[in-house]
């Protein structure tokens, strides 16, 4: 008995020692080199990971720390906290752990954790990253004193399991009923059971963008919040693919996430209000060219928004300004190309867009980027690097005609 209790005590001591040591290995975020905290959209994780790693690889003076509690959670953490020189106010700041990325000797990107200053109400957020306009999170109230800048575009899709049969498309009016009602009077076949409609929550940019497209406010959606408890898009995926009634099942996802799980899901083509036909995000069900997002045929799309405090003549924080400029591509950083980073995150860089909007779900207008990259974008996303016949390679402007310029190796129209 004595020996067994001694062994048990020793084991407990070792265990406690190890756990203490493990906790000590997780630094506080404040202790990292010149930390800049970015919080919000879970869809932006890939983009932030790439930028954080690029900063690390430079041995740079900035450590980008990211947390993905949801678009409006990040936006509200900034909007509620206009003055970072004082203690964290209620609703402002972030708590728990953040992620930052480093690069090892073999060039592999390593994910690391750090802890926020929970004991003092949390840590101030420098930049909110959101799938929606900041004013979408405030239900239209202006966000004076803050700057809202747009990064790449992203689409949201309604999906069904691969096992589902018969449905290829959904129209906005059907979506209005599917996600706006759960009574017996307003049923849309085959999505007649709200227990098989998988959505996100009111803070989700994914849901807010689709909400604007179908006319159902994000806080009024029926169905199951499959992204609860941090599950996010993964929770929706699991619910859709694991459904016991595939034909009745429908789920909301970002196209970036859908593109990585096409083996298990089918995207429903979407027809918006006043449209004549339904379209996929891409030119066909199997393409990756996002052609319909880019030219306005696919309506449920928004942008990656970067929201930070305004000092009146620019950003209040130089660190925030740096992150935003790098993401937008207006300021270079070694190891991070804004266009390539957007593409690898399954977003559409703005230079590949031909339409724009200034309000969530608002009317579209034509858009031409100062340095268009539609052909380059398709060369990166299409199988085998295929590009449309209208895309011609070049080495300089002399190789282009009809007023086109040579951008990223292709003659692009302005």
């Amino acid at each position: 008995m004595k020996l067994r209790s001694s062994v048990a005590c020793a084991a407990l001591a070792v265990s406690l020692s190890l756990s203490t040591e493990a906790r000590a290995d997780v630094p506080t975020c404040a202790s990292l080199t010149n930390p800049v905290v970015v919080a919000g959209s879970s869809a932006a994780k890939g983009l932030m990971k790439t930028l954080s790693a690029a900063y690390s690889k430079q041995g740079t003076v900035t450590t980008l720390i990211y947390q993905g509690p949801g678009s409006c959670a990040g936006v509200n953490a900034v909007l509620s906290d206009p003055d970072t020189s004082v203690a964290c106010p209620t609703g402002g700041c972030v708590k728990g752990t953040g992620l930052y990325y480093t690069v090892d000797g073999s060039n592999a990107v390593i994910e690391n954790s750090c802890t926020f200053d929970d004991a003092n109400g949390g840590t101030h957020v420098d930049v909110a990253v959101s799938d929606v306009f900041g004013t979408n999170c405030t239900d239209g109230a202006p966000i004076d004193g803050f700057l809202d800048e747009q990064g790449p575009a992203e689409a949201m899709v309604l999906t069904v399991p691969k096992a589902a049969t018969g449905q290829q498309a959904i129209v906005a009016e059907e979506s209005y009923f599917v996600f706006g009602f759960d009574d017996s009077t307003h049923q849309i076949s085959p999505w007649t059971d709200a227990n098989f409609r998988f959505r996100r929550d009111v803070n989700s940019g994914t849901q807010r963008i689709m909400a604007a497209a179908i006319g159902v406010p994000a806080g009024k959606w029926k169905g199951i919040n499959a992204g609860a408890n941090g599950a996010g898009s993964g929770g929706v995926l699991a619910s859709v693919t694991g459904s016991s009634s595939p034909d009745k099942t429908i789920g909301l996802l970002g196209s970036d996430f859908y593109d990585q799980h096409r083996d298990a899901l089918t995207q429903l083509a979407f027809r918006g209000f006043k449209q004549k036909h339904a379209y996929y995000t891409d030119s066909t069900a199997t393409a990756f060219d996002k052609r319909n997002v880019r030219d306005g045929h696919y309506l449920p799309f928004g942008y990656v928004h970067l929201i930070a405090r305004d000092a009146g003549g620019g950003h209040a924080s130089a660190k925030a300004a740096q992150v935003i400029a790098n993401v937008k591509g207006t300021e270079a950083v070694t190891g991070f190309d804004a266009v390539d980073a957007a593409i690898s995150s399954h977003f559409v860089p703005k230079c590949a867009m031909k339409v724009q909007r200034s309000v969530e779900g608002g009317n579209l207008s034509a858009y031409t980027d100062a340095a268009p990259c539609g052909c380059y974008f398709e060369s990166k996303v299409n199988q085998g690097g295929a590009v449309p016949a209208s895309c011609h390679t070049c080495t300089d402007n002399a190789g282009c005609t009809n007023g086109q310029t040579c951008d990223r190796g292709f003659c692009e129209s302005h």
Partner: protein
């Protein structure tokens, strides 16, 4: 438009929709005028009011092109001519009020 006229138009369009071979109310089928569901990219050539039924979904006016070649406005952009696959659907929408969507609960 008066309610009576809306109802008459809706009935007429509903009859037209059900009489078209591709207009199955519960399935997503290719329209019968060049819009192909999933057999590669084909030009959209719908000259017929493919979205018949009592709802407010952009039923084209007489004389309006089936698609817009040089779109500038929102309506023209979302209905611009394209080689992308387009899918037509004639949904059955319950509980409409005067042909329009009912308010949310």
């Amino acid at each position: 438009m008066k309610t009576t006229h809306k109802l008459l138009l809706a009935v007429a369009l509903g009859f037209l929709a059900t009489s078209l071979p591709a207009c199955d109310a519960t399935s997503d089928t290719p329209a019968d005028s060049g819009v192909v569901a999933d057999a590669g990219a084909h030009p959209v050539d719908g000259g017929l009011p493919v979205d018949g039924g009592p709802h407010d979904a952009g039923i084209p006016d007489a004389g309006e092109p089936s698609c817009f070649t040089n779109p500038t406005s929102h309506y023209e952009l979302i209905n611009g001519c394209t080689d992308s696959v387009a899918i037509d659907k004639t949904p059955v929408l319950p509980g409409l009020i005067d042909g329009g969507l009912p308010p949310l609960p």
